[in-house]
């Protein structure tokens, strides 16, 4: 009986060693894959970061103004007639004497709309990044 138990224990230990080795190998491989994925994530994030920076650069007010002027647009009159906070809620008193009195004003005549040309190729292709 003891021999059977002994044999069974040794066999179980052998199997355990094999299983542990298998788990260890799978862990090592998975760690390598994880490192690779992490590396890809880092690279992708870096690329996104660069692209966001590039976007912030090309969409900056200075460049927008430059493009607008190149397309014949000039500074037009703009006016804030009211603000969201000043809008009456449904059921509030009529607008008499409220700060919203000018909200029905005709908007200042705007310059003829010019449709800006969109970039034909990705921005990242047009810059040095």
């Amino acid at each position: 009986m003891i021999r059977v138990l002994n044999f069974f224990s040794v066999a179980l230990m052998g199997l355990s060693i094999l299983a542990l080795y298998h788990v260890s190998e799978r862990t090592r491989v998975t760690q390598m894959q994880l490192a690779k994925v992490n590396h890809q994530i880092r690279d992708t994030r870096a690329t996104i970061g660069v692209l966001e920076t590039e976007w912030a650069h090309v969409a900056g007010p200075a460049r927008i103004q430059q493009l607008a002027e190149a397309h014949g647009m000039t500074n037009t009159v703009s006016a804030q007639l009211s603000s969201f906070e000043l809008l009456p809620r449904r059921g509030d008193a009529p607008l008499n004497n409220s700060p919203l009195r000018n909200a029905s004003a005709e908007a200042p005549s705007a310059a003829p709309a010019v449709r800006p040309t969109l970039f034909a190729q990705p921005i990242s292709d047009q810059t040095g990044f």
């Binding site: 862990t27 994880l34 970061g49 804030q80 009211s82 000018n102 029905s104």
Partner: protein, 534 residues
């Protein structure tokens, strides 16, 4: 036989104990790996080379970010021909060849820095050389997408990515402490910043001042929405070119601001009830105080009511009003307004106010109209904001906040209301007419100060012009200050370079562009609106 069996049994027990111990160890290790350290490595990969968090404006627009670059190092002992390697690396990276040669020849240094912050293109060139013993160390380069537009305000970092000026230095702790890549949100509104900077640049082209600058601030939260200083510099380039300067004149310099300072004399007079709006003062041709005579910058009527003294910017009238308060009370009041102490904000650049040690009658009179005391524009604006915001102290901040940060009451709310009415009168009936913007009810005050020269004497015909504005003046939300250092008159201004011709129209143009962006309702009748803003 029995002894042999006993020996075997002991060995079996010992073996079993070993087996149990081995299984227990394996089990413990499994628990450790699977449960206790689960996910322990997650996220380690991300920010290894990003030392500083992003800086963004109040609307989330990117202002500064670390971009991944590489530093190139060499192990010279691995080169076959050190001189040739130095030459090739110098060609590829732009590094000084002499430095590389001496570095490679010095056996004490196992590593030699070739170049910092190299671009991917340079890296490709270096790789193409096929040299052994090269190492690319991941690093970061701070990049400012808007370039010059907020250069002095944002500041720069050194090659080791430590902040050296501006908000990069002032917000260093927050930038370094930011976790998970959370950006540091500043109070700056880049739209306002750009408009302010571009209008100042245009005015600089017209009137050719040596330097010019501007500030826009929220009077309730103290948030500085924009701060421009010209000449500026390109923060993405390490070297300064032409008349570029890193100096932020709005925070680092102090100026005798001249007539714009009169608002404090009037606030003090109304606070102490030493005068009232309609009291008439004799102006005359000059006002003698001891051996000194105070003159006007422009021809004035023989008499002026108090409100017109400010509207027409009379030095003699203001001197009389200031003298009624006296030097002791004036100094006490200016101290209470914070004008005599440096202002502490997140911006490291600051300068102490310069004022006379002996505060006698002549000093009281001249300080009353803004000569003889030098303050930084940022310090001035913070104190002036308290004049119009209901009379409460406000400390500027460069970090976004929604809280009403107004502090102690420094003047009575009634005085603040009186001053708002008077500032509006200056724009509708006085020297500030050119700052008027239809529908936005601008209130403000001009300042045309004499400029002291090297030996303390004022430079003939040189002026430092400025304009302080608050809008909408009935219940101000924003204050603005623009300054032109020694502008020159043009044909269009009849050769005049006074603030009413140079600084006031600049303020008006900036307000007409930023007020709609900031959601300030336009109160002009529709017929006037359609004709456009002045």
């Amino acid at each position: 036989m029995g002894e042999v069996t006993g020996v075997f049994q002991r060995r079996i027990v010992i073996g079993a104990v070993f087996c149990v111990a081995a299984f227990a160890l394996v089990g413990l290790r499994l628990v450790d790996v699977t449960l206790l350290r689960g996910g322990g490595h997650a996220g380690f990969e991300d920010r290894a080379i990003i030392a500083r968090a992003d800086l963004v404006d109040r609307n989330g627009k990117l202002l500064a970010r670390d971009l991944p670059v590489k530093d190139l190092y060499a192990r010279p002992h691995e080169f076959w021909d050190k001189d040739e390697a130095a030459h090739d690396l110098s060609q590829a990276t732009g590094a000084d060849e002499g430095r590389l040669r001496s570095g490679f020849a010095n056996a004490k240094h196992p590593y030699v820095l070739i170049a910092r912050q190299i671009t991917p293109a340079t890296e490709a060139k270096v790789m193409h050389l096929g040299l052994p013993g090269l190492e690319f160390e991941p690093s970061a380069k701070r990049y400012y997408p808007d370039g010059r537009a907020a250069a002095q305000l944002l500041g720069v970092t050194d090659p080791d990515n430590n902040g050296v000026s501006g908000l990069e230095l002032g917000l260093q702790d927050r930038i370094r402490a930011s976790e998970d890549g959370e950006p540091v949100t500043t109070s700056i509104d880049m739209r306002v910043q750009y408009i302010l900077a571009s209008e100042i640049a245009a005015q600089r082209q017209t009137f050719g001042p040596r330097a010019a600058g501007g500030l826009v601030m929220d009077v309730r939260t103290g948030e500085v929405l924009a701060m421009a200083s010209l000449p500026d510099f390109d923060p993405n380039a390490r070297d300064l070119t032409g008349d570029d300067t890193t100096r932020n004149i709005m925070a680092q310099d102090v100026y005798e601001l001249g007539s714009v300072f009169k608002i404090f004399s009037f606030a003090l007079a109304f606070e102490d009830h030493t005068t009232h709006m309609d009291e008439v003062f004799n102006i005359g041709q000059g006002y003698k105080i001891g051996k000194y005579t105070i003159h006007e910058a422009e021809r004035m009527p023989a008499t002026l009511a108090a409100r017109d003294i400010l509207a027409q910017s009379s030095n003699i009238g203001t001197a009389q009003i200031a003298l009624r308060s006296g030097g002791v009370r004036q100094k006490q009041f200016l101290t209470r307004m914070g004008l005599l102490t440096p202002i502490k904000t997140e911006l490291p650049e600051q300068r102490k106010t310069i004022y006379p040690a002996n505060w006698g009658a002549i000093e009281t009179a001249t300080i009353g109209f803004g000569q003889g005391i030098s303050v930084s524009p940022l310090r001035f604006l913070a104190s002036a904001a308290a004049i119009v915001n209901g009379g409460r102290e406000i400390i500027p901040t460069f970090v976004k906040t929604d809280a009403d940060r107004r502090g102690a009451q420094v003047i009575k709310p009634e005085t603040s209301e009186q001053m708002r009415g008077l500032l509006r009168y200056v724009v509708t009936n006085g020297t500030g007419r050119n700052a008027n913007v239809e529908g936005y009810d601008v209130g403000g005050k001009t300042g045309s100060a004499q400029v002291p020269g090297e030996h303390g004497r004022y430079i003939p015909h040189a002026l430092r012009t400025s304009f302080f504005a608050a809008f909408p003046i009935e219940n101000p939300r924003y204050v603005m200050f623009v300054l032109l250092d020694q502008p020159h008159g043009t044909k269009a201004t009849g050769g005049f370079a006074l603030a009413g011709y140079t600084a006031a129209p600049l303020a008006g143009r900036v307000i007409s562009r930023i007020a709609p962006l900031l959601g300030v309702p336009n109160t002009a009748p529709p017929t006037r609106l359609a004709q456009g803003n002045s």
